[in-house]
């Protein structure tokens, strides 16, 4: 650009574009662009998902037979600890943060997050946290489970446990920074024409998630720092030999880790509320009910933690109190599920891969929700606590909810992120394998737990062999199911069919810019013309409106 080319109005905009073209190396740098950071989060999280999945497959291989023959019981405990920690702290939390990063500014018509540098710092805390944790496997893995209850966690090896604590402290810090950023961005950076009640439901879900992160994560950090003192400095906050109380750790741990379940699943509740209306061509049913139920879940999620401790050192009144609060949380969750169902009812459902995963989400999450209400009932929980019934329950919630949700989101927003369409046929194959494998793995675990198989064991009573073999076969199918997805994603990213700006003809703002969006997101900040879900009012958006390209020159140049 030279001074001779300056034109009064249009030039500053095009100058900005030409000066800031996206390079592939941006994805490996300290970029402050929320779109780059979002993709960095998602890809990093997926790598850790593969690692966590490999650990799980090793565990299922071990459990194919009652005897500890594939790995030693010691190694098995390392596997189960790392599997839980990696999946929760390095896969689901960063995946949710990745979606939020990518989508929030686009959905509310902002040019970036409120604190772009903080955003980049939050992301760049994740790789060290993850590499640290994974590396512990090669020295001395932590073996006290992802809950890391003392006194066991204090006498299974200082190095592994110390690494585990440090890794989670780093990851937790990243999460807090991210949560703060999301909240401020959503509250302060919406386009002027967008009131809170015209905001996409994903943003509502992220408000609820961010509040939970900000309130509960510091408590986990406190618990872990005290645990680290016990471990390294020999204090006795939780160590009974010095007069400490191990039950206090459990309270502090679950004060974070139960809300954490909602931190894992609420972003995907938000995402499915975006996907279903678009692919069913129908407004979301009960916008306000779904929006406010996120906040209700977020509040109730803070006062249910001791239901993880019904068989621990909790007095009777406390067991009864937490039973009732836990039961109540089924109501707002039910509102959401019924709302999604009613959205589908009377719609025109297109069976895209995104929609298939959304349907799988509802079908499996329902089972996790039902078993969750059962587990809330104290007398029944006393029987099944710490058994495979619980393992089945939380995998139906976290795999059926979060993992199906992340896949759904990727199929839905991949065209926006990369400017290429994903292959639908392979998407359907991926869905079928995942759905079958998931149910085959986790459904038998309900019966195993009820019949008397406790969790976290490398060797088990041979009467449980048959169902365990079924579960192991299911886990292999799940492992295989990721192959079509990986090939599809990489191949589509490189060679997929070019995506128009709005391939699903959606109404939310992220589709009203190019695919992928320009660096500054929008040429001109958009003005809200319709609500986010106003389908059926005769307004059908164009797939590829020509005016989007007016500033960018030829359409072909917009890749």
């Amino acid at each position: 650009m030279t001074t001779s080319e300056v034109k009064p109005a249009a030039a500053p905009a095009s100058e900005a574009i030409l000066g800031n073209e996206r390079k592939w190396t941006d994805y490996f740098t300290f970029s402050t662009d929320h779109k780059v950071i979002g993709i960095q989060y998602l890809v990093t999280a997926f790598v850790f998902y593969m690692i966590g999945g490999a650990l799980a497959t090793a565990m299922r291989t071990e459990l194919a037979t009652p005897a500890p023959d594939f790995v030693t019981p010691d190694v098995y405990n390392g596997l189960l600890t790392l599997h839980g920690t990696v999946m929760l702290f390095l896969w689901i939390v960063p995946a949710g943060a990745g979606l939020a990063n990518y989508l929030i500014p686009l959905m509310i018509g902002a040019r970036d997050m409120a604190f772009p540098r903080l955003n980049a710092i939050a992301f760049w805390l994740i790789p060290p946290s993850g590499i640290l944790l994974i590396s512990s496997f090669f020295f001395e893995p932590p073996t006290a489970g992802w809950t890391s209850y003392p006194p066991l966690s204090l006498n299974t090896g200082m190095l592994g446990e110390g690494i585990w604590i440090l890794s989670i402290l780093i990851g937790g810090t990243a999460s807090i920074l991210g949560g703060l950023n999301f909240l401020v961005t959503i509250l302060k950076m919406r386009v002027p024409s967008m009131p809170l009640t015209k905001m996409p439901l994903f943003c509502w879900a992220m408000i609820a998630t961010s509040l939970l992160i900000l309130i509960s994560t510091p408590v986990l950090a406190g618990a872990l720092i005290l645990l680290a003192f016990d471990l390294i400095a020999g204090t006795a906050f939780f160590n009974p030999t010095g007069g400490g109380n191990p039950v206090v750790y459990q309270h502090m741990f679950w004060f974070y880790s139960h809300p954490a379940v909602y931190i894992f699943v609420l972003p995907l509740f938000g995402a499915i509320s975006e996907v279903i209306p678009v692919h069913a061509r129908k407004p979301i049913f009960g916008y306000r009910a779904i929006a406010y139920s996120s906040l209700v879940i977020s509040f109730l999620g803070l006062i249910v933690w001791a239901h993880h401790m019904f068989t621990s050192g909790t007095p009777p009144w406390l067991r009864m109190f937490f039973m009732i609060t836990t039961m109540v949380i089924a109501v707002p969750t039910g509102i959401k599920v019924f709302g999604w169902l009613a959205t589908l009812w009377g719609g025109k459902i297109a069976f895209t891969s995104a929609m298939l995963f959304a349907l799988g989400f509802i079908a499996t999450f329902l089972i996790g929700g039902i078993s969750g209400v059962m587990l809330a009932a104290v007398p029944f929980d006393i029987h099944v606590h710490d058994t495979y019934f619980v393992v089945a329950h939380f995998h139906y919630v976290l795999f059926g909810g979060s993992v199906f949700g992340v896949y759904m989101a990727v199929y839905h927003w991949f065209p926006k992120m990369t400017g290429r369409m994903m292959n639908e046929t392979w998407g359907r194959i991926h869905f079928a394998l995942t759905f079958i494998g998931m149910n085959l793995t986790f459904m038998p675990m309900h019966e195993l737990g009820l019949m008397g198989m406790n969790r976290r064991i490398a060797l088990y009573d041979p009467q449980f062999t048959d169902l365990n073999v079924v579960a192991t076969i299911g886990s292999y199918i799940m492992a295989v199911s990721t192959i079509p997805f990986i090939i599809n994603a990489i191949w589509s990213w490189r060679y997929g069919q070019k995506a128009p700006a709005n391939p699903w003809r959606a109404l939310t703002l992220e589709w009203q810019t190019l695919s992928p969006p320009i660096i500054e997101n929008f040429e001109e900040l958009p003005v809200l013309q319709t609500g986010p879900y106003d389908y059926g009012l005769g307004y059908i958006p164009e797939k590829d409106p020509a005016e989007l390209y007016s500033h960018a020159g030829e359409p072909a140049a917009a890749t």
Partner: protein
């Protein structure tokens, strides 16, 4: 309407015939199973209803080829939303009340009455006169005596958990054993404690479980209703051989139980019993050897010998 009746009938049938629970061998188990069957009936109905609606929508409301139109513009329906808020609320309220009732029948609330053995209160320097009675929310932990028992005397057994065994001590007769023997039809009070890390004492056929916490005694009171041999399982991760921390519960008829007590007292060799329990000075292989027989594990002698030749894993050095 017809559909509703069919769903109800299937749910009612499945709630009673799910076959998902092991045999019920205690008074507590019968109560818990009643609760589970009710929840299973409701769950089954809800499951069929929601999954049915989902599948119906998928078939009936699928997009036809070439139809690019939108569906009907329907933003919500307040009465319908109130209905599906109210129904789950009523259901969970009902389950809560039922659970509360079952829990008090199992003796869970008994511990709130401070008539049990008073624990020695810790004297706090700045408030030396503070007594337990000033803290109404503190109480013993576990399950107490069911209100229906009306002061019937209970057989007392002290249970100690350690990596990776349970030790049962009978204070009345001085018996120490690695297996739990109890008479049927009598209340048994188990005082649980842990010596090293957290353990949990679980009797699947009795549907009761309670964590064993180092430094805090917990309690279970139960009543066997069916003679037989049942597993005792540790249900809290306690180390690599957590899966092997199991023993047996043998429910005798009262007469058989008296015979067992007599023979044990006559033997009087509690020291030998203790020596046979897995202590903390053993190698991995010795731990494992202990579990091969009771678990009927498929480990051949070669594998065991191989393990024996291996150097200590870090577990042994830390415990």
């Amino acid at each position: 309407m017809l559909l509703g009746i069919v769903v109800t009938l299937i749910s009612l049938w499945y709630g009673q015939n799910h076959g998902l629970l092991p045999v019920a061998a205690s008074a507590e188990a019968i109560l818990v199973d009643g609760l589970f069957n009710v929840m299973m009936t409701i769950s089954c109905g809800l499951f069929l209803l929601v999954e049915g609606a989902l599948i119906f929508s998928i078939i009936r409301f699928r997009r036809r080829e070439g139809d690019d139109e939108d569906g009907v513009h329907l933003e919500g329906n307040i009465p319908l939303e109130i209905v599906w808020t109210a129904i789950p609320a009523v259901i969970v309220f009902g389950i809560s009340i039922y659970s509360f009732d079952i829990y008090s029948e199992m003796g869970g609330l008994d511990l709130m009455n401070h008539n049990s053995t008073p624990t020695e209160a810790v004297k706090i320097a700045y408030a030396p006169d503070l007594e337990n009675g000033d803290m109404p929310l503190l109480s013993d932990v576990g399950l107490g005596e069911p209100p229906s028992s009306a002061g019937q005397p209970a057989l007392e057994v002290n249970v100690s958990g350690l990596q990776y065994a349970f030790i049962f001590t009978y204070p009345d007769s001085g018996i120490v054993d690695g297996e739990l023997h109890i008479p049927s039809g009598q209340l048994v009070r188990l005082n649980l404690q842990a010596q090293d890390v957290l353990h949990a004492f679980w009797l699947p056929e009795f549907r009761v479980k309670q964590d064993m916490i180092p430094g805090q005694e917990t309690r279970l009171v139960l009543e066997a209703t069916r003679e037989g041999t049942y597993p005792v399982v540790c249900a809290e991760l306690c180390g690599p051989y957590h899966g092997g921390m199991r023993t047996q519960l043998i429910v005798h008829s009262p007469e058989e139980y008296d015979d067992w007590v007599q023979s044990k007292v006559a033997q009087g060799n509690t020291a030998e019993t203790l020596a046979n329990l897995p202590g903390s000075d053993r190698t991995d292989a010795q731990y494992l050897a202990n579990f091969v027989e009771p678990l009927d594990l498929d480990i051949d002698a070669d594998a065991l010998a191989q393990l024996q030749a291996m150097p200590h894993a870090h577990m042994a050095s830390h415990s």
